[in-house]
Symmetry: C2
Subunit: 251 residues, 2 copies
């Protein structure tokens, strides 16, 4: 790591029985991670998927918010009885769970006075002192309190609002990455790759990921570093000393 | 819960920087959860995604294996330098990390004597005393030690071998589920649904999940219980007192 490299990290807490039961495929983790990484220089160090149980939400959030710069939660901020994230996060910070005046006004306007029922009102209840994360899709805002950002579980909605978190984040240094895709199997290159990882230990993380394409087996080698020049040096070595030498086909 | 209901639970640990960076979309959690649920009556209570770092793998596995009946890990059992799951799990159980004779023989046969290089041999190194989880796709077996099952990260391979874990699992009681899909928004039914959840608290978990279909917004109501009869009673009430009364369209 370079001395002036600024590391900022985050954790993600996915709140939802439907993810744990396998009924719903989570699509938010990879999206949030990529967005944090690529747009903000923030790396996600840990993800937890937990059930809709207040005690567990409180315990998990308390544990992770002390460990990482930022925590992102997904799920549980809708209008139904199983949406308990906002209430639970109020307990985390020991503040009142109450109507947020601006959120209340936004939702009242969105639904119209006559259709603003209890479930819809509930979506404006948050921990006292929260900042809103505006939602251009379906109006109901997410919220941020201290270093915890609470977002909805529906991927389309989450994606439409995540950029509204950016102004609250301090950015980390950019991590560059490059990759080489080869038609080979990992066990054919593992030894050479291991040697290179040792050599570049201080600068580069080398990852190796098998893939399948049109019935053929391949390996994607991914180089990640804050030093663009070292990535290019390492890539050249891989191409020359592994790919060319072993006559491996690139894709 | 009925008195004779047998609860068996599990945790999943996804090991892989590529999942944390957002580069790769995890597809194993939902698959394993469903398989455990539907085929074995085992519910997944927690998932963690962690990096390829020995210290963290050891700590996380130690924490979770005491909390749940079974732990499933995915990723990190291939031939490359970043595959450190087997070595880390050896440290969890304080046993030797060594060639498993049967795994060694399987891989030697699969690759042929002349192509059985160090990377390939590495895939037969495991914690001493492990049982093999056979792999019909690409030969390299997963392993089980005490209540920890270690599986590969590539979804196609994992799916082809998970049934080989079944013989080691004690089964839990089956949890039944049924669902009703409605063209409406959650906030239109949240109050009535909340009341029903209170009424059926002892028997049923009612979940409510928004979805989008051909540009229309819908809600999937999911009922889960070990009591089939109660599910059917509750479903009838939802159809009569919410769906019919509010003239909501079903899909």
């Amino acid at each position: 790591m370079k001395k002036n490299f600024k590391k900022v990290n985050a954790g993600i807490i996915v709140i939802g029985n439907e993810i744990l039961s396998g009924r719903t495929q989570d699509l938010n983790v990879s999206f949030i991670s990529k967005w944090l990484n690529e747009k903000n220089g923030i790396s996600v160090n840990e993800v937890r998927v937990i059930p809709d149980v207040e005690k567990i939400i409180v315990k998990t959030t308390n544990e992770l918010r002390k460990k990482y710069n930022y925590i992102f939660t997904t799920g549980g901020i809708g209008p139904t009885h199983d949406d308990i994230t906002a209430k639970s996060i109020s307990k985390v910070f020991k503040v009142k769970y109450e109507y947020h005046p601006e959120a209340f006004a936004i939702l009242k306007k969105y639904y119209g006075k006559n259709n603003f029922n209890d479930g819809r009102k509930k979506m404006s209840k948050m921990p006292r002192g929260s900042d809103l994360i505006y939602n251009p899709s379906s109006a109901a805002p997410g919220f941020k309190i201290q270093n915890v950002f609470c977002l909805p579980g529906v991927p389309l909605i989450l994606r439409s609002m995540i950029h509204n978190c950016a102004k609250y984040l301090k950015k980390g240094s950019k991590v560059y990455s490059d990759s080489i895709n080869l038609i080979t199997v990992e066990s054919n290159i593992s030894r050479d790759l291991g040697k290179l990882q040792k050599k570049y230990k201080k600068y580069i993380d080398i990852g190796s990921y098998p893939f399948f394409r049109l019935g053929r087996v391949g390996v994607s080698i991914v180089l990640r570093s804050q030093n663009k020049h070292k990535i290019s040096l390492c890539k050249t070595e891989i191409l020359k000393n592994i790919v060319e030498k072993k006559k491996i086909k690139k894709v």
